[in-house]
């Protein structure tokens, strides 16, 4: 990961509610990455942490809350008070983000949707009217997402580096294929991938690095491996609300842990305290 992600890069960590690549986000924090442009439909806790640690210069997103709980306080602090640093926003709708990723995966410079109509969002995002040459209907064009690095978490890779993920697969295939480089963290490495209903497979030759990171989606979930840690999402509201408490938590559980195994162990220790 150190070789593939550089300061200043545009990075997309995807996983729509499921398989959120938290372990990869933590590793970016441990490596002290700076000035990142972070792309993600739903920033979730993973970007709240990166933003709160000052790793981001810009956020490209469509819904920035703590699902089912409320605000992302570090994101809000950055936007409302420029703390710890100003954060530029490029804001989309989900539909616009999805089309932009699909255009990137297709190596098209733009994608088309019927959306961004009126309202105040079009003036605040990158969108342009485009006319159908056959019917004259005016639709919205959005520029393709082409991140420098796409990062996703998957259940399995095989020894050749082919990757399989299943359950809710969101926009992960598009995020990987739209990016110049890609990294996949996985729950386990198996001898052979057994085809699964609803799975997507990313062949080894479109993935630059596969890293073993069991539990690497926590507090998100990995279908067939472990459930979403709903308690952690609720607890994050309190942890992240206060700047110092956030900093202390991040130091103890992320900065001062070496990897996902130590991170998980540090959380287990913290619970009884």
């Amino acid at each position: 990961m150190r070789d593939l992600v550089h300061d200043g890069d545009t990075v997309a960590l995807e996983g729509f509610t499921h398989l959120i690549p938290h372990a990869a986000g933590h590793e970016l924090i441990r490596q002290g990455r700076r000035d990142l442009t972070l792309v993600r439909m739903t920033p979730d806790l993973v970007y709240d942490q990166l933003i709160g640690m000052g790793a981001a210069r810009k956020l490209v997103f469509s819904w920035g809350g703590n699902p089912g709980v409320g605000s992302l306080h570090r994101l809000r602090d950055a936007v409302e008070h420029a703390y710890p640093a100003p954060l530029e926003l490029e804001e989309h709708s989900h539909a616009g983000m999805a089309v932009a990723y699909a255009a990137g995966a297709s190596d098209l410079p733009f994608g088309v949707l019927r959306g961004y109509r009126d309202g105040d969002l079009p003036a605040r995002t990158r969108v342009a009217p485009i006319e159908c040459p056959f019917t004259g209907e005016v639709l919205a064009a959005v520029p393709a997402h082409r991140p420098d690095v796409g990062i996703v978490h998957a259940q399995q890779a095989d020894r050749h580096g082919n990757v399989q993920l299943w359950g809710i697969t969101g926009v992960q295939k598009e995020a990987v294929l739209a990016s110049a480089r890609s990294i996949v963290t996985v729950e386990e490495i198996v001898d052979e991938l057994e085809p699964r209903p609803g799975a997507i497979v990313l062949p080894a030759w479109v993935v630059d690095a596969v890293c073993l990171a069991p539990g690497g989606a926590h507090p998100s979930y990995a279908h067939g491996y472990y459930d979403r840690d709903n308690g952690f999402y609720r607890a994050w509201d309190e942890i992240s609300r206060d700047r110092d408490r956030f900093a202390t938590w991040m130091r103890r559980h992320v900065v001062e842990t070496a990897d996902v195994v130590e991170y998980r162990a540090s959380l287990a220790e913290a619970v009884p305290a």
Binding site: F16, T17, W63, R76, R117, L121, I168, G170
Partner: protein, 233 residues
């Protein structure tokens, strides 16, 4: 068990009653999911639940806690990618009803879920539009669920996140509003709530329908189904 219920419960019951068997509903988490699942367990067992995470025809056995709950994928007729969901299913007009919430609503049903204050220097940065802008124009009927306060029901939005043109009903904790002649109008109050209380909770001069009625109280069956859904979660 009748006679006493929470604001959330009557909102969920009133919204659920508007769903018909076989309707295809784009459902967000929280109250909309509660309402749609309640409809499936009462009068509309064939109501099709679509979540923006990609699950089509989900039949959750317990109330999901996120729109990407594993339970949704396991019980769905089909799970599709997010780009496919927005292009082939929402944009293509296959969804009958979409539920929306927001921080602010105006008299035309336009919604703000983006910022309180100015966009560049907001007092409160809200989560943002998510699926709402295209849900608001892509489904046939938009149902809004929102607690009624003067801070939420405002004369002028700080930011227009989604358009109100397809809003057919707004279910609040105080009553039910529907558009009449292009403006949201109070058409029902919940039991024990007066039209004046509803007007006081509204930041604009709320129109009241001449045929204002009282919401039918949640039935015992409705409340029982609702509570068993929440307990299972």
């Amino acid at each position: 068990m009748t006679g006493t219920w929470t604001a959330d419960e009557i909102m969920a019951v009133e919204a659920a009653r508007r769903l018909r068997d076989g309707m295809v509903c784009f459902v967000g988490i929280g109250l909309p999911s509660l309402a749609a699942n309640l409809a499936r367990r009462t009068h509309a067992p064939g109501c099709v639940l679509v979540y923006e995470s990609g699950t089509i025809g989900a039949k959750p056995r317990r109330l999901p806690l996120s729109i990407g709950d594993g339970e949704l994928a396991e019980t769905a007729d089909a799970v599709v990618s997010v780009p496919e969901m927005f292009a082939y299913w929402l944009q293509a007009g296959r969804i009958d009803v979409g539920f929306l919430g927001a921080a602010q609503i105006d008299r035309h049903g336009n919604l703000n879920s983006t910022v309180i204050g100015s966009y560049d220097s907001p007092a409160v940065r809200l989560p943002g539009g998510g699926g709402a802008p295209e849900i608001a124009t892509g489904v046939r009927d938009v149902f809004v669920m929102l607690r009624q306060t003067p801070r939420a029901f405002v004369p002028s939005l700080d930011f227009t996140t989604s358009l109100g043109e397809r809003v057919r009903v707004v279910v609040t904790d105080l009553g039910v509003l529907e558009p009449r002649d292009g403006e949201l109008t109070l058409i029902a109050t919940h039991p024990g709530v007066t039209a004046d209380e509803s007007r006081e909770a509204t930041g604009w001069d709320l129109r009241v329908a001449g045929d204002l009625r009282e919401t039918e109280p949640p039935s015992g069956a409705e409340l029982a189904a609702l509570r068993s859904l929440r307990e299972a979660a």
